[in-house]
Point group: C2
Chain length 207, copies 2
């Protein structure tokens, strides 16, 4: 037998205690504390919080929207898969339209990536939704373009695209002008589906 | 219109070029170069490669197994979701047993987490499989225990659990003694489902 902690509840408890001891949560508003802890938990890097930027009241806006039954619109299936359904307060719908058969045609028509084109299919659900980008910078850029063109406004944008081409720029564009929509994002190249899903889970309920 | 790259193929090309320019691939064997590039791509951090450790021939072992039809056993659904089916050379099965209704009972019986208990259901498929741990340290610890107790040997272990309790230790245990099984792992707290899925995708085929 190898010696290790086998108690899921205790592993969570210890993990969160280590994060609270190591991470600098002081500069964060109370309504984003749980989100910060869970984002760190998902990636193993307390210093990621130095890059966390947000609008005032973003956490509260997300919680209110979820409690009101807002759908959660995800840019990738990994994000959708990472959202813990039992934490959602109103059996909120978790939607990823990337695999819709219309998407390749839309991408061609728009001259954009499939991930960006998949946002077209969000339009009927966009008003008051939680939008979660955990993969593609083009999805976040496209969302801003849609808002500029008068698309319905979501309740919250969680912007965590990752990578080397467009991730930095798309998150800067969001933070500079979120088109009046509450937001949380992570400056720099880091991000990804696990952090994005963790951010959603943090806005849900504890048991 | 916002100015950004909308061409998925070109975004990949540029991303991989940036990674090759910034990351230190020199110390890596040729059969792990693609894996290294894709792991960096999934997390946005070239320095992660300093923590990549592996057994000789691990990449080749993984490729041979996949081409021979090996199943891919994943500790979490996010990992399974991140594996690009079109890259798999033999329509390899991608399996995650975590949601099986027998798992809560097994967890109680074993006195372990559900993620670790789910490995019991891998046994009939474990021989020659690709094992991918992208979430839970307890899954990696449990795998080592099962191997110590004589379980069938997989072809490759991709060990990328993440976090603050057990992640460091489980990956050290794998690297110190992988029970004769080829492995790739990432020292330290970093890891996660995106890196784990990227490692699998790198062992598949390009188009």
């Amino acid at each position: 037998m190898i010696e290790y902690n086998r108690d899921a509840h205790d592993i969570y408890r210890q993990s969160f205690a280590i994060i609270r001891a190591e991470a600098n949560l002081d500069r964060l508003p109370a309504d984003l504390e749980a989100l910060a802890v869970r984002v760190v938990h998902s990636c193993g890097m307390p210093d990621v919080l130095e890059d966390l930027i947000f609008s005032d009241g973003a956490g509260a806006a997300g919680r209110t929207a979820l409690e009101g039954g807002a759908p959660i619109l995800c840019d990738s299936r990994m994000v959708a898969e990472g959202i813990t359904r039992a934490r959602l307060p109103a059996e909120n719908e978790v939607l990823c339209t990337l695999q819709d058969p219309r998407v390749p045609g839309l991408a061609k028509q728009l001259g954009n990536t499939r991930t960006a084109a998949a946002l077209e299919l969000w339009r009927p659900r966009l008003e008051g939704a939680i939008v979660v980008v955990g993969n593609a910078p083009t999805a976040l850029f496209r969302l801003l373009e849609m808002l500029d063109a008068g698309a319905p406004r979501p309740a919250l944008i969680l912007g965590f695209p990752v990578g080397f081409v467009g991730a930095v720029e798309s998150k800067e564009a969001l933070a500079e002008d979120s088109r009046g929509v509450p937001f949380v994002t992570l400056r720099g190249r880091r991000g990804g589906s696990a952090m994005a899903a963790a951010a959603v889970n943090a806005l849900g309920r504890d048991h």
